[in-house]
């Protein structure tokens, strides 16, 4: 482990830059497409937003930052934890933020194999906002995962900024059972040929839970691939949104991308909003998206119950199978073991 001053790290905003940029952006509003589905009124206004205006404007790389949740931890002076994982290393790590705001920067060397579990922040007060900047070297294999237990923290943001070099493979998997309001945002840049990003999320929500996912995957090199699978099991008045964008750049031939959102609504009041966006600037690509919303399959329920299994147990079996299928295609790994065992 060592500190690093790579180009990637140097491109990250400072606290001062983040504050200036946030003032430019203003507080999230529903008419901002990044926050279309989020209950923005629940976000407390940081003190620095109300402080006397300075005349400076943002410049450089920070101008590319458009997400309030991504800048918030830095603006709140979260001390960045910077780690370098050397080329070829094999590491398993668990990360846990012990402040309201956290910022983690990872430089993962080429050919490294990394398994990274993000643990729940249980010390935050009214809001927890974490940011992860992860630069993945050539042919590295990385899994990032978290399985949040039911957490009643009023508001939680997690933002991931992932850059992948050629042949790098990243699997991002999560389970969320939170009971409050949260948002996970991911910006993934597939910068090198053959890089692959695999995203799987499962929300099992009840009550007044309101959880939101915002993904943007930039295919910036030929033959890059990405998969998005989001599954939701929603009861009570739970609400989920999935806002997923795939952007395929010029000259990015042979790109393959898929997005699928499957939701089972277990109550009349539960709801899901899905917004797929595809921006494709090359002809030779294959990009798909799909969305299903339904109830538990009536024929499957009948089959189980007709074998003597009580209705409630049959429902639980079907829900568990729906949930487990999210992660079944993953290779055997600490992530798969942890995620499957939490279901």
């Amino acid at each position: 482990m060592s500190t690093t001053t790579s180009e990637f790290v140097q491109s990250l905003p400072t606290a001062e830059q983040a504050i200036v940029r946030l003032r430019e952006l203003g507080m999230p509003r529903r008419n901002n497409e990044l926050w279309s589905f989020f209950p923005v009124a629940k976000i407390p206004t940081p003190e620095f937003m109300n402080a006397a205006q300075e005349h400076s404007t943002s410049d450089g790389a920070v101008q590319k930052e458009t997400d309030f949740a991504a800048l918030l931890p830095i603006a709140n002076q979260a001390h960045p934890m910077i780690r370098e994982i050397v080329p070829g290393a094999a590491e398993m790590a668990m990360l846990k933020c012990n402040n309201d705001f956290g910022h983690t920067v990872l430089e993962i060397g080429k050919d490294a194999k990394v398994s990274l579990e993000i643990l729940d922040n249980k010390v935050a007060h009214d809001i927890a906002a974490e940011r992860f900047d992860i630069n993945v070297g050539e042919n590295a294999d990385v899994e990032i995962f978290f399985a949040n237990p039911a957490c009643d923290l009023p508001l939680r943001f997690r933002h991931f900024n992932i850059h992948q070099a050629a042949g790098a493979n990243v699997r991002f998997s999560s389970i969320c059972k939170d009971t409050a309001i949260g948002r996970v945002s991911v910006e993934c840049h597939l910068k090198g040929e053959g890089a692959n990003f695999d995203y799987r999320s499962l929300h099992i929500l009840d009550g007044e839970a309101s959880q939101h996912s915002r993904l943007t995957i930039y295919h910036e090199a030929p033959r890059t691939t990405s998969t998005q699978l989001a599954r939701n099991l929603l009861s009570g008045s739970a609400r989920v949104s999935y806002d997923g964008s795939v952007i395929v750049g010029y000259d990015c031939t042979g790109v393959n991308s898929s997005q699928l959102v499957n939701t089972i609504l277990l109550s009349e009041e539960a709801s899901v909003s899905v917004k797929p966006v595809l921006k494709i600037y090359h002809d030779d690509v294959e990009c798909t998206h799909g969305n299903t919303v339904g109830e538990l399959d009536a024929e499957q329920m009948f089959y189980l119950v007709s074998r003597g299994i009580p209705k409630k147990a049959a429902q639980e079996m079907l829900m568990r199978s729906f949930a487990q299928e999210t992660f079944l295609p993953l290779p055997d790994s600490p992530a798969k073991k942890r995620l499957m065992s939490s279901l």
Partner: protein
Amino acid sequence: MLSIKNLKASIEDGTQILKGINLEVKPGEVHAIMGPNGSGKSTLSKVIAGHPAYHVDGGSVELDGKNLLEMEINERANSGLFISTQYPTEIPGVNNVEFLKMALNSKRAFLGQPEMSDEDFKKLCEEKMDLLEMDARYRERGVNDGMSGGEKKRNEILQMAILDPKVSFLDETDSGLDIDALRIVANGINHIMSPEKAVILVTHYQRLLDYIKPTYVHVLRHGKIILSGGPELALKLEDQGYDWIEEA
């Protein structure tokens, strides 16, 4: 054992499919139900099982004197009824063995018996899988998931063997089976059958009845049993079809 009296049932749009079925099935008997497509054979099995797509308009179905129609679906099964549908439902993600164990222990709980231990269940499962010449892959798979038609039917008979029902209603169990699979499945059914149990077979062909000798053969047409007879009736139907019955 199973007594069906004047059973009438319709689908959601009000169309009546069963128009007064009467059938008495005693322990040790095998009843074969034959009939043209669309005559109500599959509907009969689903109505008895309690499928929510059907509405019972009248009549009764009693198993050992208890009215099945007043029971929940799982209670009917746990009371000793087993229904195998023509197209067994696939349930990916629900492990076949876990499902079987859950079903068996649900029945045992219903009957006031303790849960079967993992070890005993494993033995029982292995014994029945051997009987049906099923390999270990069936354990790892989801319920009927990705199975061929024949594999599904074999899997259904495995469930029947483990749940040990009093009355089994098998709807076109022979469809999708090759010659060897038909023999294996039929042998399995014969092995499970005993003087205390009964089987109702829905089939279009004599070939299944070559292996499983029926006590009675019934012809179901337009929602009613219009003719009953002995095993020779199936041979005549195979030879002459159904038209002669209306002519008679």
